[in-house]
Symmetry: D3
Subunit: 246 residues, 6 copies
């Protein structure tokens, strides 16, 4: 089984870290390829970064299709371009935010999210509402860490994350914590150990969900709104997207 | 990995069928044990059957704990006794209805449920609302098949199910169908072939979710309302449940 | 009119107290019988206790049916086994949580709940959502009192309850308080006097609702999912539940 | 106990009929007074009729207060002026729509409403949402009967109501029917007999709820937004409402 | 274009202030007439004040119809009598609360409301839910200022409002503030300058929405529940409302 | 006032038509510029088309900023890239779907949408839920017209739209119809005349809302998640988006 993990931002060190985390958790027969778009933002910290990154996600899905990948993961907590990506393939496509939410509700009745910046909290709130998990999440918390600080070994990011997770544990009346950034994929164990609650991280959760769906023989439905895009002309820099063939 | 699959009703043929379906889908390293309570209803077709069956589910969890099972599946579409069961173990416990709903939302934007009897539709409606998937399900349909007809090879159950699934496909504006009874675990492929839509069946979905959670090292949170039951006396026929030790 | 009040736990002193409270509030022509199951937990403080207690509730409904009771009350704040119980009788069956919620919305626009233990708060949250009252309840508060402390005259339970109710009054922007445990049935007046807000207790509320429904000639609908259970075999210790006759 | 039943429209024959229905269902010790405002619409069939009728409702509450009534009923299915009325008294005030909804959810999991005119259906929809019962009601149906046709013995209103109720029973997957007009207070038994489902009518339901609240010693909360109106000047034809004293 | 602005209370100084604010913001071709009912409360601070004021609103709509006004504004933050008013005219009718909410969602993802008295907060909560904006509003705050203090130049009302708005800005995680009283129509600029967030005031918002609807040729739909009232008799002091002609 | 209308697809004839419709409705002092991206899909009929088009929308906002436009309109019914666009400017940005929904709720209590293709209905459903209007919309209908058929004078698109709108009027219990495609901007009057209900079209609605916001001095909040993007590097074909200056 080949799972193609797409880091929607263009920071290679983060892609590497995400790929490592995915590989560590993958089943013996699963091959992980981790990639990021050639073009796009170095980190995703708002609606605009998200919108632009969706183009890169789509390109990486198309690239994965050429390699006949069995499943795709969109490794940014806002799940940018998720429905668009699903149109492009029969394989399952999983966002790391949705993956984390699904897993959290299977082991707890209420959870909180600890994310990077306050300004991205709204993205998590929108996802919770769209996916149906608004009532299961007590609170969206931000440790106020710029995403790329997670790439900086000297930063105090881990300590601040642990502090915020402890506050969530003590104040939020929850059973689990969801980490709200793909860049935290390597910190799950440390945070969980420090906090003493189940801590769910989306990249690893998504790998196991992808394996599950592929194992079930389930892929993105091609009946209805997730069918392949209607063939049509695209212009300009997107001309290569014209009349995509399934 | 050892997954203990609990059929909450007491019909051994159905337990066998469910166990077979679970085993077929399980990963190479996964061992499936399928069981049903010694006491309880032969089928679950309403709130009362569900309530009684929850006792048997709890007993089977305790039995599984003695064997140090790694995960549990409650193989009845109403997920009877799910939260109670979760209190009894650190392992993950997954209901087949929730499993099917989670998987359905990962491959489609809207789905319908095809279940057995109209009177059990309300159980599915309640679950959809509690789990947060009410907006993702277009319609709960019943083929009006008593559960045990699914055990009767000569019955027209399969044909009627296929008919109802085709109506769902043609009328409901959906991308996937969820089968609403554990007794349909062996029919998924036939129905999917006949209908041409992704068809999601809960037993198999739950096996893969259980493998996923175990793979992630995640189990039922013992922080909050899913912690082990507070030690206390139980009386009468339930005296053996007194002061349960984790 | 005969109202059969079922205390779902097996603590006789609590049953006695609940029966007294019910009798005090009952109309002249109403006879109260208070009972508890022979088997089950001595207190209900979680999902597991609830699930087991539902069996006893069902048995007590069947017992009440032999005496042709006119209505039933399930006197535990989680309303355990409520829908199952309704299948077993044409008489009305009322849970004390729902009773309290209904009454609270008739005299205030917003209320808070003060319950025993934090870990049972989730049960109240689920009921509020299922019954439709989630928006009417500002907050579910716990005084962190084990249920059986309410049976101990020397405990500080009352003082702690009053403290929590005062916090609710001062902080929650509410018009009424709902007491979240059947074991508080004898404390309503003291708490209300101390707090100065309407305080609604479920046992007494349920008695008056039961009288109301019986007075209206209304009983549990036998059309649809609350019809008598479909006749079927039950096995083992539940064999006596086979083919229940209406 | 004195329950003051206010018919918000000015049709005396309907007031009489409502009073009769209330008296028939009242407990032995309950005295019913039925009244209608001197000023206002002869029937309430829309938002405008409702708004004007709220003034009369308020005046009748004030009149009832002079007689020290123990409870009030607003006998129009839109519950016009309900929250305003509650500000004017320490006694409970109950609308017949809310009364019917509460009772319906105690005996069924889903109900439908059969009302008079399609254009008033939106009023029921708004109430269902505000009260929290939107998910419990399958459908709001109109028999397209002008309200005053219910006062005309020669009309086909009853037959048309029965037809619509039968359609609700057969098509809506429900356990009970709520009648959507105070003018149907005398038809409940005939309709219920003809339809074979529990039929809930609001006037009678409200009488029993009022008796229940009074029996519990509960009245409208004077803490918060239902406290007596802040003393202030009213001008013109409403000058007599200035500085109302509790 | 003629916009008739109705202050539902009877305080002329507030009507004048509201008219001034409306005129200042109106387009060159727009004529503003500001009025208040002859009869009713001098301020609106609860459900009862609202209910009575709805009569005056209706009378002022009828008065405006005689002058063939092109649009109406109900200039009290509870939007009293809004749906009733819409039945009386083909012109658009806009409440200042809804106007402010609509505008707030166009420039921010989340807002808070700062209103006068805590007891009126529930009115805003109900409107948010009915209009669909409950999820967009973080918090309803009250500065605990009686409405008529806003008419008193010597009061500390402005200072207290600014304080509360600053708390909203700093604590609520919002992008905009909605002012919750028509009497604040002249304070928007001062508050906005002091707080540094977009501040939305309903009177001015409603003027621009009214101009927008008239510009689009859109008026209140006369198809369905907002059609003109069914012709019928009104009695007593409301006899003049009988058989209203469109 | 300068309103920059962005047609997110790249079909110039549609841009022209949209610009004409916008100009016709604009106030005397309003200048409309209509544009479309150089790159992107010729029509938007699904999630993928939407995601790609968001890039072009962002580019056109940046282009408009250089011209100091006072407001922006995104003239595709899915409001693609709306929140991203808002980050890029202090001016208001309005999507035509939200514009139409806001206007519809001001003149009716319930509306239906008539859109082009069934597969895009889900986009409207998501928007309704996110914006809070899910309860106000009775039904999302599709006339099954490919978007570019609206550009083909010889097509039967208009006739089919009118048929579907009439069905909405007769079956949906609504007061107004929302047209679900920017390409219908020139058909509003014909459809409204043929159907006899208020018909709301988003381009024109958005122009008037944009004028309203500008008139009020309100622009996109720069406090919180709609603040300008955090300065950062963009790579590849998006390098020109690095460190955008407000």
């Amino acid at each position: 089984m080949h799972i193609h993990v797409i880091n929607p931002n263009t920071t290679a060190s983060m892609t590497h870290k995400i790929g490592e985390a995915a590989s560590r958790i993958a089943a013996p027969g699963t091959r992980i390829s981790a990639t990021n778009p050639a073009s796009g933002p170095v980190s995703i910290e708002g609606h605009f970064d998200e919108a632009i990154s969706a183009v890169g996600v789509a390109e990486e899905i198309r690239s994965g299709e050429r390699e006949r990948a069995d499943a795709y993961i969109i490794a940014c907590f806002g799940d940018p371009g998720l429905l668009a990506a699903r149109e492009l393939t029969r394989a399952p496509v999983i966002g790391i935010a949705e993956a984390a939410f699904h897993m959290a509700t299977l082991i707890s009745t209420r959870f909180s999210i600890v994310t990077t910046l306050g300004r991205t909290g709204i993205i998590a709130e929108h996802l919770l509402q769209n996916y149906g998990f608004a009532h299961h999440c007590r609170r969206v918390r931000a440790a106020e860490i710029p995403v790329l600080d997670l790439e900086d070994d000297g930063s105090t990011a881990l300590a601040r994350l642990i502090d915020e997770c402890r506050r969530a544990r003590d104040e939020d009346n929850i059973g689990a914590i969801v980490l709200g950034c793909g860049g935290m994929a390597d910190l799950t164990e440390q945070i969980s150990d420090a906090v003493g609650l189940p801590v769910i991280e989306g990249v690893t959760a998504a790998v196991k969900l992808a394996e599950a769906l592929v194992g079930l023989g389930l892929g993105t439905s091609k009946h209805g709104d997730l069918a392949f895009p209607r063939p049509k002309a695209y212009t300009g820099q997107f001309a290569h997207l014209s009349n995509l063939e399934p």
